[in-house]
Structure formats: C-alpha cells, structure tokens
C-alpha cells in the first residue's frame, strides 16, 4: 500500500503542477468563502457597530446569544439549513439544496455571529469618546458611527478574516447542504473526506496543503496591512 512518504511526494506533485482537480475544488471553496464573507460582513459589521454603540433593553441577552452562536457546530447549522432548503421544508421552493448558493446561505448563517460578535467587541474596545467627539465636531449620527467603525478597523478586519477562515476550513455545512456532488458542490474539505474514504491519500494531502497555504496567505496579508499603519 501507499506509504506516507509516497503520498506526500505525490501530493506535492499535484500542488506544484496545479492539478485540475485540486484547482477546481480550491476554486469552489474560495468562491464560497468569498461570497459568504462579503454577505456576512455587509450584514454583521453594521449590526455589530450598532449593538456596541447603543444601550437598549435585552442588549445583554443579545450579546450572550451571539457569543453562544460563536461555537455552534457546523453540522448543526448544516442540518438546520438542510431542513429548511429541502423540498419538504419551508424554503424548498427555492431549489437551493445541493447548490453552491445553498452552501453560501449556510456559511453566512455560520459566520454571521463571528463577524457581529468580533465587530462588537472591537468597537467596544475603541475609545468611547470617539463618537462623542465626532458628534461634537458636527458629524451626523451615521457619520459618527462610520468614524467609530474606521477607528476599530483592525478588530473588524480580524473578524472578517476569522469568518473567511472558518468557511474555508469547515466541512459540516458544505457536506450536508452541498451534498458533495462532484463538479457541482464538492469543495476542498468535502473532497478531502471522500478521497480519504477511498484511500486516495495523495489527493487528500494535496488539498490539505492548499488549505494551509490559503490560511497562511490570509494571515500574511493581514499582518502586512496591520504593520503598515501602526508605524
């Protein structure tokens, strides 16, 4: 049988030669992660800022719920979204089950709490006087909120990156909602699962390497961005 060294060598070959299979699954994973992160950021960042900047009844309950949802198992999100998108479920008419947009919906729900909660804490950590000062300088309410968001941009960026990483690396939602259909909804992580099942360790390892490379490059970019303005 294939030794670990063989598998590793074959995996490297697949990565270096940009094997079409590796490229396809990696491309799909990155597309899903990008789409889900954009939607979740657009929804979650403003909500996070609003919760951080306003005092209202039930605010603490909202924060507790958000923090609880941070650690929600991906298979639970997958199962819930599957039940809704199934033809026998309430949103069955959408026809989104076993499609890439269907996976994106699930991933958005998975990372929305991450983006919102991390934004919330980043904004809360920013100087509380920023908003007051901006208002005193004659800014409108919306402009003041915007300034607060800009001031806490590194925390918010960290939230976005954490969310992206969560989508790229998770397997529960992609498997259950996507169905792992080859050439349609098979992603890097679900391809790893099916290739390990079939004993094709090399391809699985190659995909694992791409996954690691993606996380590494995201974090390098983040570090560079942070370094630039801290000087």
């Amino acid at each position: 049988m294939e030794t670990f060294a063989d598998a590793l060598r074959n995996a490297l070959h697949l990565v270096v030669t940009l094997d079409p299979g590796v490229r396809e699954y990696a491309g799909r994973s990155l597309l899903i992660a990008s789409a889900a992160t954009v939607v979740a950021s657009v929804l979650g960042i403003p909500v996070g800022v609003l919760i951080a900047e306003h005092r209202f009844r039930g605010r603490r309950a909202v924060v507790v719920i958000l923090n609880t949802l941070l650690g929600i198992p991906t298979v639970v999100v997958g199962l819930v979204v599957y039940s809704f998108l199934s033809r026998s479920g309430p949103l069955g008419g959408s026809g989104l089950l076993f499609t890439v947009p269907g996976i994106v919906v699930g991933e958005v729900l998975l990372i929305l709490p991450i983006v919102t909660a991390f934004t919330l804490s980043a904004v809360a950590r920013t100087d509380r006087d920023v908003r007051k000062t901006t208002l005193a300088l004659g800014a409108s309410g919306h402009q003041a909120l915007w300034t607060v968001a800009v001031e806490s941009r590194f925390g918010v960026l960290a939230a976005v990156i954490a969310a992206y990483g969560r989508v790229v690396s998770e397997v529960g939602v992609a498997m259950i909602v996507g169905g792992n259909a080859d050439h349609f909804t098979r992603t890097m992580t679900t391809a790893i699962v099916v290739n390990v099942d079939m004993g094709r360790t090399a391809l699985a390892l190659a995909l694992g390497m791409v996954l690691l490379a993606v996380s590494l490059s995201i974090n390098v970019v983040f570090q560079l961005l942070q370094g630039e303005t801290e000087e």
């Binding site: 403003p46 259909a181 004993g199």
Partner: protein, 300 residues
C-alpha cells in the same frame, strides 16, 4: 434606509441571478445513488456520454440506498440508482417512484485479512460465514448507514443464528408512522461506522477486520495502483450474495418540480444497448465491476 440594506439586496439579487443563469443555460438532473456506484468510478466513466447526448448535466449525490430513497421521498432528487429490491418495491408501492428498471448487478463478497482467523473461507453458506465471525469474535466493520449493503448484511446476520440485538426505528413519512426493525450482533468486535462503502473497506483494513462489500467497490480499492487495501476475498459466489441495481424515476405527481423528462431520458439511456455496453466494458485492474443486466422495456 441605511445604505448597507441596499448592498445586501444587491448581493442577494446577484446570488439569485447567478443561480438562475446556471439553471437556464443547462439542464441538471439530480441522481441520488449509493456510494458503491460512485466510489467504484463507474458513473464518472459513463455519465459524459449521457451529458453529451442530451445536454443534461448529472449531479450525483451518493448517500447509500436508504438515504437516497429518503432524498427522493422528500423531493430532493429526480432519479435514483439503488440496490435494495425490497426497499425499492416499497418506494414504488408508496407512489414515490415510477418506471423502475433493472440496470446491472454484481455481487457481495466477504472480505478480511488473508490469515482468516475466523475460518470464513471454509463456510458453506454466507450465514455460516457470519456465524463463524460471531463465534470467533472477529473484528467486523459494518456500514451501519441503512444502505443496501447494510440491509444485506442484516439479512445475513439473521440467517447466521448469532445472538442479535434488535432495535425498532420509527420514522414519520407522509402516510404516517413506519417502523423498521434493524439488527446487530451483540459483541464488542462489531463496529458500525455509519459511512460509505469505501470508508468501510479502509476502516476494516486499518482494524484488520472483516466486512461485507460489493465487489465493484472492493476491486476499485484493491486493484488501484497503489492498492488501497490488502484485504482479500474470504467468501464469495453464493446466490444469496447477488446484488442487483435498479433505476427509478421520482413520481412527478405530488413533486411537480422534479425533472421527470430528464429522469425518463436517463432511464432510457442507462438501459440502452450503448450504455449497457459501457457498463460491461468498465474495468478496474482488468476486472469487470458490474454485469449489465437491463431487461428490454416492459418485460419485467
């Protein structure tokens, strides 16, 4: 209205459009099937011919027979390719499936480590082979996933006379409650993994255990280069180990959204002489994986 609401709506609209455009330019047929047909590589080999002829792309969701039929009952598949005759008959009787046709067959084999610690190889029937595994307390890996292979395995445990644990599984389907009995032998040597055929074989390989496998998936792993398993066939050839595959269209009555036209074309295609010839020519390591076995239309 805050500006971001507009952005969200645009993003959702873009998502919807991208979905619509992919649906408009190409027709998609959702095939729910067993892991064995996909894991053996057969479908990837023959589907390009169907896609070329009809311009319909086949989306394969490989889940095991029980789960595939449930997907179809829920309206999430257009056509099924499965291997559990009794389950298939019930599916058709319940009104969920139409146009059931035989496609091909292979057989189940009992595989395990070459040294055959339980003496499976000298058994006279598959039931006796299982009885020997139970008596020896030999490691056995079960699919445990309600698949066609798992159902066949349970049938063999019932025949073996080994001590069994019975479990009632109640599910609610549209017609009301249905209760199925599932059995497993008692003993700490029996592992239910709840996963596909490929995984069961690799798990049995790692644990040095026996398992019931369909010959196609076993060959796909054992004859691959390099081989993915070193387990050998310990018992084979009994009539009770025959494994027939059928194709069934999901009844559009009650599920008006299903691609019934595509399913009809698929069934006609896979039972046609051309597709049957491709099934008969598909080999791994020089071995035939599936015997074509479609009957002419209307003869069943």
């Amino acid at each position: 209205m805050p500006r971001w609401v507009g952005v969200v709506l645009c993003a959702l609209a873009a998502l919807a459009v991208s979905r619509d455009s992919s649906g408009a330019t190409e027709q998609i047929l959702v095939l729910a099937t067993t892991t064995s047909t996909e894991n053996s590589g057969l479908l990837a080999e023959i589907h390009p011919d169907f896609e070329r002829r009809f311009g319909i792309r086949v989306k394969v969701v490989a889940k095991g027979t029980g789960a595939s039929l449930q997907l179809a009952r829920d309206g999430n598949a257009d056509v099924v390719l499965v291997h559990a005759p009794e389950e298939e008959e019930r599916f058709v009787e319940e009104g969920y499936g139409v146009m059931r046709r035989a496609v091909m067959h292979n057989d189940f084999v009992i595989i395990g480590p070459e040294e055959d610690g339980a003496g499976v190889g000298s058994a006279k029937t598959p039931g006796e082979a299982f009885a020997r595994i139970a008596r020896a307390g030999h490691v056995f890996v079960s699919r445990g996933d309600g698949s066609g292979t798992h159902l066949k395995e349970q049938e063999l445990w019932r025949r073996s006379g080994a001590a069994l644990e019975r479990r009632e599984v109640t599910t609610i389907v549209k017609g009301g409650e249905k209760t199925f009995e599932s059995v497993r032998p008692t003993g700490d040597w029996y592992f239910e993994i709840g996963q596909g055929m490929g995984k069961a074989i690799t798990a049995a390989t790692e644990r040095r255990g026996c398992t019931l496998a369909d010959r196609g998936t076993y060959y796909a792993l054992a004859l691959a280069r390099p081989p993915r398993t070193d387990l050998t066939i310990l018992y084979e050839g009994d009539e009770r180990l025959r494994n027939p595959y059928s194709v069934i269209a999901v009844n559009p009555r009650g599920q008006p959204h299903v691609n019934f036209e595509g399913a009809r074309k698929y069934i006609e295609w896979i039972t046609s002489p051309e597709a049957q010839r491709m099934i008969g020519e598909y080999r791994v390591g020089g071995k035939l994986l599936f015997h074509p076995g479609a009957m002419p239309a209307g003869s069943e």
